[in-house]
Symmetry: C2
Subunit: 414 residues, 2 copies
């Protein structure tokens, strides 16, 4: 008997999930219910006539398993709870829900003895949730990092390869459907942060609250920065990283300089890449298409097949998790500081004296040709120093009178 599947949500991902199930026609999965608001305008003729189209969530609970691809915290959370309480396993692509309420929902699923699977919530079609949870479960992982947001990566790689300004790259991403009309969640790092929290749970056994993870926007990156980055044999990526360092946890989402030779630098366009670092297996990398209807649907259907093939067996156990005793941002890093100034005597001397006060060593001062007296960009690179010292120095630097735009400070990752 095929596992009957009820779909909550018939947008891009929901439609792709339906397509995959219908086209597989494998006797393991059967699409039986589709829920959406204004369901009438959603009807398509390529699903079996037996499918129930509905605007009532409860109808979908008649299926053996519920797929939630609506997203958002509410009402998705209530729907999850209702489905679990009705003994229905859930497969979801909802990263915000799993990042914020994953602990409670997984506990509820375990109580009810049903599965709650969410491969599609991180990295689209890349099987990184299963990879961390089962594939390298035998290792003791200490770091998970990577490029988790395809929108930011599209924008940054277009700035890099085509020399576009930020706004032009964003507009292009929106025109191609890689960015939403309101791109805040992507640009500010909230989307990547939710995914990072999910990976921290699955890979490191950590319950992080997304709001506790420091996020920095990519909005302040300019085309100048890619020129300087290249001179430093580097480029700029939105990097998400969580690491267990002794007894504390460090996590951060935001733009950073990465060497051109690194795996992160070579992630182009809307792709994603995740690197897990372990005590025994060293680095293991997962990469692929992190968004889009079909890649995400592959993850959903793979989760459905796991449930179908288990056929009544107990759901797979999730590793135990705990809250970190201490969660901070990055603690120490070399830094890239880009300034745009009105030229005047004493700028470097003023900056150097601030850095000296905070015991930060200047590595190099770089200036590309082409600036004007009224708008002169240049870059200072700093040797590795405590982030706290750098933050204090930055506050002082921002009060200096010569800035044309606010200084941009990025960590330089090895």
């Amino acid at each position: 008997m095929a596992l009957s599947v009820g779909l909550l949500g018939f947008g891009t991902v929901g439609q792709s999930v339906a397509r995959l199930i219908v086209e597989r026609n494998d006797g393991l999965l059967a699409l039986t219910h589709i829920f959406n608001r204004d369901i009438a305008r959603k009807r398509v003729d390529w699903v079996p006539p037996s499918v129930v189209w509905t605007e009532r969530v409860e109808d979908v609970l008649d299926a053996d398993v519920v797929v939630e691809v609506v997203g958002g915290l509410d009402p998705a959370r209530r729907w999850h709870e209702a489905a679990l309480d009705a003994g229905r396993p859930i497969v979801t692509a909802n990263k915000q829900l799993m990042a914020t309420h994953g602990h409670a929902l997984l506990a509820r699923a375990a109580q009810r003895g049903v599965d709650l699977l969410f491969e599609a919530a991180v990295g689209g079609g890349i099987p990184v949730v299963r990879g961390l949870r089962e594939g390298i479960a035998g290792d003791r992982l200490t770091t998970v990092s990577g490029i988790l947001n395809g929108t930011c990566n599209y924008i940054l790689t277009r700035m890099e390869s085509a020399g576009l300004a930020f706004d032009a790259a964003l507009a292009e991403a929106q025109a191609h459907g890689f960015a939403e009309a309101d791109p805040t969640d992507d640009l500010e790092g909230y989307d990547a942060r939710a995914k990072l929290c999910i990976l921290a749970r699955v890979g490191l056994g950590l319950d992080l609250s997304p709001l506790d993870v420091p996020c920095e926007s990519i909005r302040s990156i300019s085309d100048d920065d890619f020129v300087y980055a290249r001179r430093l044999q580097a480029t700029i990526r939105q990097v998400s990283r969580v690491a267990i360092v002794d007894d504390s946890v460090q996590a951060r989402v935001g733009p950073a300089l990465v060497p051109l030779t690194s795996a992160l630098a070579r992630v182009i366009g809307s792709q994603n890449l995740i690197v897990a670092g372990g005590t025994y297996g060293r680095e293991t990398t997962f990469a692929g298409y992190g968004a889009g209807g079909f890649p995400t649907a592959v993850a959903v259907v793979s989760d459905l097949l796991a449930i179908a093939r288990r056929a009544g067996g107990a759901p797979a156990a999730w590793p135990d998790t705990s809250q970190p005793t201490s969660l901070t941002g990055l603690q120490v890093a070399p830094y890239y500081l880009r300034l745009v100034v009105r030229d005047q005597p004493g700028i470097i001397a003023g900056l150097a004296s601030i850095f000296a006060t905070h015991n930060i060593n200047i590595d190099a001062v770089l200036q590309e040709p082409g600036g004007t007296k009224e708008r002169l960009p240049f870059v200072i690179t700093l040797e590795a120093c405590p982030t706290a010292a750098m933050d204090k120095a930055l506050v002082e630097i921002q009060t200096l009178p010569f800035h044309v735009t606010p200084p941009l400070c990025l960590p330089v990752l090895a």
Copy 2:
């Protein structure tokens, strides 16, 4: 109750598996038996005193699950059969056994209702078996390709980066423990071929017989070839690839030119990388350390944890497999042909006339400075042509009288 684990084999991998289990001390896995020949010389003091050291395979069947890390076809096959018949799940790193007898052994395991897991047989710690089998099970995969042999990759990347001759790079690999005293299995592609057959089973549902997959040696690659490859914006890697093309299957293991910008070119040293191509999720990549005691042990222990966590549930089903109706090597490719000749008039004319006969278009003729009249290397690149035509042309070219060393012909991968 912890799952008791019996180890068949206490070499590098076996010792690493034992270390991981002992250091985890997680209440899920308990090491209880260690089998090896000449067991007395193997004893170590860091395993629990309760462990039974034995030279009798049957003793190990007292454990709940058997780990086989001896390798080779015999007697490993008999041990597997005995363990399965005794109702013991098996976790193995034995690629030759799984490639050659995987079909029969998996059928036997299914009959007995026990697991036979082999994540460690391909790609060391990289969870690609589980990734293909479960992680992207929802996709319809059509190709699996990658770098599956760390020894070849170490040798080729050392030739590339340090300009070493083949023999020097091989000697270095042996000195560092990356190559065996008898490196035949690695260099000729037999090791990679076994892994490719396993991935074809898991990812594409294909039963391939390893002996049917064409293999080419990397022994004939010279340092000259890296000079020419670089001029073509490429490098040389041992590439393993299997693809479903219409109703037939194409598979090959051997050296090939790959663009410097490709993921394959960027796999350095003893690392492995596997790319799966699917209808829905496009390309998904898995990379990491493909060999070594601890990475391989991570894969073994991850498989053990999967069995421990399932705790009595049914073993996961393997996808159905079938034999291909037709299995061939590469069918069409652009080619790189390197010749080393005694210079004389008419060489290019003679070659061009052979290519014309076989309808093969010359793309370019390259000659780096530094050759002598007695030993003149040069390269001809050919536009994409049927491999059969290229093979015939090569036979004729080999009969020409001016060769100092046999011509080397490599496909150029996109």
